[in-house]
């Protein structure tokens, strides 16, 4: 097919610019030698990044976010994998409503999830708010994502491979480790990475369910009150953006490998 430059192609490119330009202002202004985010740009400086590296409460928040993110990505992938295997391997009556409930956190506004969890934690069980409670909230949010990613991966390969392993005398556990797990691995890694990013970037649930320990988005939000720290906040935003983009690209490349392009995935 000859390449056509029509209105639609122009729109496609314009849309991408619209999608990316606002966010790319963050790195741009973070290098600008001016406290305010204003045009014209005056000079190049990396002082905001030096300030970042020397900020102890920021480094502390970063450490917290990394801990919570890793914890969430592992647990959400395990729960997502179990559900995805059940959903793709067995005929189950009542599967649709059960899957519907598992998907709910995708559509319910996160503030509702946050306050509902807050009530149970504080008023019912009187559990103190810590990074553990943030992690628990994030797992709830990430399980549907993990499950969707893994379902599309598990549906993408031939079930007869697992049947063959069983017929050759492997038990269910060994079939899982020797056949299912290696074949699902790209999906599993992709789910680990995506759940990590979702947790790493999440603000509302973290804000409601955290105690004194801040995560990175909470720290970023708290810095917005100080106009003089705007360049540093922009620099922090740029770093988060850069890290998440790398993780998402890696995960997407993994996920789309081996999935036929004629069968578009749901997400």
């Amino acid at each position: 097919m000859p390449r056509r430059i029509d209105a639609l192609t122009v729109y496609g490119v314009a849309f991408l610019i619209f999608l990316y330009a606002p966010v790319l202002l963050l790195p741009m202004f973070s290098f600008n030698d001016n406290t305010f985010a204003v045009f014209p740009l005056v000079g190049f400086t990396t002082s905001a990044y030096v300030e970042l590296a020397n900020n102890d409460s920021l480094l502390n928040a970063l450490r917290n976010s990394l801990i919570v993110g890793s914890f969430v990505s592992i647990f959400s992938t395990v729960f997502g994998l179990l559900a995805a295997m059940a959903a793709t391997r067995y005929r189950m009556p009542g599967r649709a409503p059960v899957m519907g409930v598992i998907m709910l956190p995708l559509v319910v506004p996160s503030i509702i999830l946050a306050v509902a969890l807050l009530i149970v934690l504080r008023k019912v069980f009187d559990i103190p708010l810590t990074l553990w409670t943030v992690g628990a909230g994030h797992i709830l949010l990430c399980v549907p994502f993990s499950m969707l990613v893994l379902i599309s991966r598990l549906e993408g390969f031939d079930k007869s491979l697992e049947e063959a392993a069983k017929d050759l005398g492997e038990n269910g556990w060994m079939t899982f480790w020797r056949v299912t797990f290696p074949l699902a691995l790209p999906g599993i890694v992709s789910s680990l990475l995506l759940a990590f990013t979702v947790s790493f970037d999440e603000y509302v649930i973290a804000f409601f369910l955290s105690g004194i320990d801040q995560t990175l988005p909470i720290f970023l939000w708290s810095q917005l009150r100080f106009p003089e720290r705007l360049p540093m906040t922009e620099a922090l935003g740029s770093c988060i953006l850069f890290a998440s983009t790398i993780i998402v690209v890696a995960s997407e490349l993994l996920r789309r490998r081996g999935v036929k392009s004629t069968r578009p995935t749901g997400l």
């Binding site: 639609l8 999608l19 506004p109 603000y203 409601f208 997400l267």
Partner: protein, 325 residues
């Protein structure tokens, strides 16, 4: 682990038969056993909390403790008629505490405006991806997906920088000599909330629409052309109806979370752009009135659910899904 192996009755060691007799016989039981940890998680962390939210909404806050007698007071508080009439955008509210009703209505209206903007922006992009992009399709899809997963908070922050008093738009217009003092309505207004929401959620809407466009059987389009439809007629009578399920799903995926959004109105809304999510946060935080906050949260979910059900009835979504499969 296949659909058939329970029935095949392949020879198995006697031990496993007695151990998992029921499990061997009923495939669905094995499925649910495998799914049970995830279901338990959802029970403990989704169903129980929502039930708790419902229960507490019938209790009342009593200064520092919670009075656990069943009452509808919180809901009455939201709709109690008053003597004074408050107007918002020309809509009269004759309520004692009009702030809640106003915020609910306002949240729904702002979310509807943002959703409409998102669908109008996303549909042509999805169409472009499905019908025009032939080379580097994976690259395009990844470019669309990155904003889907990366920070929502940062996208909103970027708009704060753009629309701010000393922001990009104002400083740009001043340095070009078009205005001589900053335009204040840009930030901290419903306008800022709608534009920010539209941008922040645009990436979420493309994929469902794209999937439904991609699934359309191309021979149907050829048939329409052969039968003499002009491109626009073909789009209107064939492509658009066939992509409706994905488009409707996209609209709901944006609309439902947007009504309760907290980040955007808090960051760029100011007092004029406050939405119901912000007042829920105040009720659970500073105001220390969790029961009223719960009632308000549930009222919001109820309104959203009713609107969604009414909308789906109106467009005949069930019938559409039926054709689809």
């Amino acid at each position: 682990m296949s659909a058939t192996d329970g029935a095949q009755g392949a020879p198995r060691p006697a031990g496993s038969r007695s151990r998992g007799g029921l499990l061997q016989r009923y495939e669905w039981l094995r499925g649910y056993l495998l799914m049970s940890p995830t279901m338990l998680l959802m029970l403990l962390m989704l169903i129980v909390p929502i039930v708790a939210l419902i229960i507490i909404s019938f209790w009342t806050q009593d200064l520092y403790s919670i009075d656990t007698t069943f009452t509808l007071d919180n809901y009455w508080h939201l709709v109690q008629p008053g003597k004074k009439t408050t107007y918002w955008w020309g809509i009269p509210f004759r309520l004692l505490n009009p702030v809640y009703a106003i915020l609910l209505v306002k949240s729904v209206i702002l979310a509807l405006m943002a959703t409409a903007a998102v669908i109008l922006l996303a549909y042509p992009m999805a169409y472009f991806l499905a019908f025009r992009v032939t080379r580097h399709k994976v690259l395009w899809l990844i470019l669309i997906t990155i904003p889907f997963w990366t920070s929502y908070l940062l996208r909103v922050f970027a708009w704060k920088i753009i629309l701010g008093y000393n922001g990009v738009v104002n400083s740009g217009l001043i340095s070009l000599g078009i205005i001589d003092k900053p335009l204040e309505f840009l930030l901290y207004s419903p306008f800022a909330v709608v534009i920010t929401l539209a941008h922040a959620w645009a990436a979420f809407a493309i994929l469902p629409i794209y999937v439904s466009l991609e699934k359309i059987d191309r021979s149907l389009l050829e048939a329409a052309t052969d039968l003499g439809y002009r491109p626009l007629e073909r789009f209107w009578h064939v492509t658009l109806p066939l992509s409706a399920p994905g488009t409707i799903a996209a609209a709901l995926l944006v609309f439902i979370p947007t009504v309760g959004d907290y980040v955007t109105p808090a960051m760029v809304g100011g007092s004029g752009g406050t939405m119901v999510g912000n007042i829920i946060q105040v009720l659970f935080g500073r105001a220390n009135d969790a029961p009223l906050g719960s009632a308000l949260s549930l009222a919001m979910m109820l309104i959203v659910t009713l609107l969604v059900v009414a909308f789906l009835q109106l467009v005949g979504y069930r019938r559409m899904r039926h054709w689809d499969s």
